[in-house]
Subunit: 279 residues, 2 copies
């Protein structure tokens, strides 16, 4: 083995209710293990991140695949992205419906088309051509998702508070024994989002980015805020500068990437508009 | 007047056939003039870029609004984005149909929703709520678009050659007398694209980006290649570093941003895979 492979998995930003914390933890651990087994056998970082994210999509605890939050109309529309750090190839789907594993469809967009992103009906049409079965929407909706959606419809509901809850986008980054990095991210998006809302996840440089010469990123949080600063690409730009790079306005002794990450994590729990502007 | 306002307009990358060159030039000039009149009267850079791009969308010579290229199925699906450099607010639509001015709808997404991007049917549904009339698809299709699409269907057609022809995405950047910058981009996408294909235009940091503290960019070219390097954001990152910044691998005495632009323009006429990788 040339070098030790690594996989890092996340199960989404936001406050995890106590009664779901153990399930979240074990879901993330099990997905990370599944990805790591692939890497240990000499599999690619792309295989590892897609496997890890597939497991999280199949796990009803997370807001991706089965377990996705519902749109304002009570439906499931999902976004996903993958990126290969060796070739900079990427694939994404947005606002796709009735698909159990959007991350696998995103990978097929990368591998089987000349495009980078397919959206809505076009993505579903492509899935049919690829032989990916459509699943009933009901199979993607959990009781918990429906309960949160109904709560949000109540006359006294606070929509901002509802959206600030557990977001639960899932993602993974990995480096394999050949030194190739990859990222994958998948989400049901924002609770109560408008039909057709596309967040950061399927947007290259926002929901994820991977480049062998720098690193790989998978993001989670309030999509619109992440998009404002093209967060994944921004983190890699700062990492590319190295620890000696002077970021105007930053004074702490951390590397800029660490600073940025700290500021971002802080931002997740602050009003959305307080995210760093990229400098 | 505090400072001289500026508007820069483009009518898309690619080879312009001789018989269309004069119309392209006059269309771009007239759009730039319309944007400039707004700036001279003290209007905002956002007003100026949206007006300029609206004029180009209405001009059948360009691949945006009326004049959009056709998908593989012979239909029109359009993408557009706007971004305000003062607030970093942005709005976009992707794969939208039957809308005369997608750039105006993108602006409404920014101003009237809590989202950044709406796609496909969701974007059309939002348009209806906003009172934007749907137009018949036929009103967006020119004889020239249909001729190119048919040519592409011929048994001896070279799909790569067809796609390498005039792309004609339109865009504008501006700075107003208050020093605020903005960008707008609009396109019918790639000729013969798959249904639901989303290119760079509606993707923040790819089809456009604007930040008062750095500048504003609107891109045009092969969308998938632009997305690979998140080109708009990449250009601004390099501009942010200033002329003294050392870009690994670059040896010429130009500033990095100019180098990058030169490399990119060269890339437009080279195989798509030869675009710079971002360093």
């Amino acid at each position: 083995m040339d070098r030790l492979p690594v996989v890092v998995v996340h199960g989404g930003a936001g406050n995890i209710p106590n009664e779901r914390s153990e399930k979240s933890r074990s879901g993330v651990c099990s997905a990370a293990r599944a990805g790591y087994v692939i890497l240990q056998k000499g599999g690619s970082s792309m295989d590892a991140v897609v496997e890890a994210v597939t497991q999280l999509e199949n796990n009803p605890v997370f807001n991706a695949g089965c377990g996705s939050v519902l749109t304002a109309c009570g439906e499931v529309e999902m976004d996903a992205i993958v990126m290969d750090g060796k070739t900079l190839a990427s694939g994404a789907v947005s606002a796709v419906r009735n698909i159990a594993n959007p991350v696998q469809l995103a990978r097929l967009v990368m591998e089987k088309t000349s495009h980078v992103c397919l959206t809505a009906h076009g993505a579903n049409q492509f899935a049919r051509v690829m032989g990916i079965p459509e699943v009933p929407q009901e199979s993607l909706i959990t009781e918990y998702s429906r309960m949160r959606w109904k709560k949000n419809l109540a006359p006294d509901a606070n929509p901002v508070e509802c959206q600030m809850g557990k977001m639960g986008t899932v993602g993974a980054v990995a480096v394999d024994i050949d030194g190739n990095v990859a990222c994958a991210t998948s989400t049901g998006g924002l609770l109560n989002k408008m039909e057709g809302r596309v967040g950061d996840t399927s947007c290259i440089g926002c929901g994820g980015y991977a480049d062998n010469q720098v690193g790989a990123v998978s993001t989670t949080g309030h999509g619109e805020a992440i998009m404002t600063v093209t967060l994944a690409r921004l983190i890699l730009f700062h990492m590319e500068q190295g620890p000696g790079y002077d970021v105007p306005g930053w004074t702490k002794p951390h590397t800029p990437a660490v600073d940025l990450l700290l500021a971002y994590l802080k931002g997740l729990f602050a009003p959305f508009t307080q995210l760093p502007r990229g400098r």
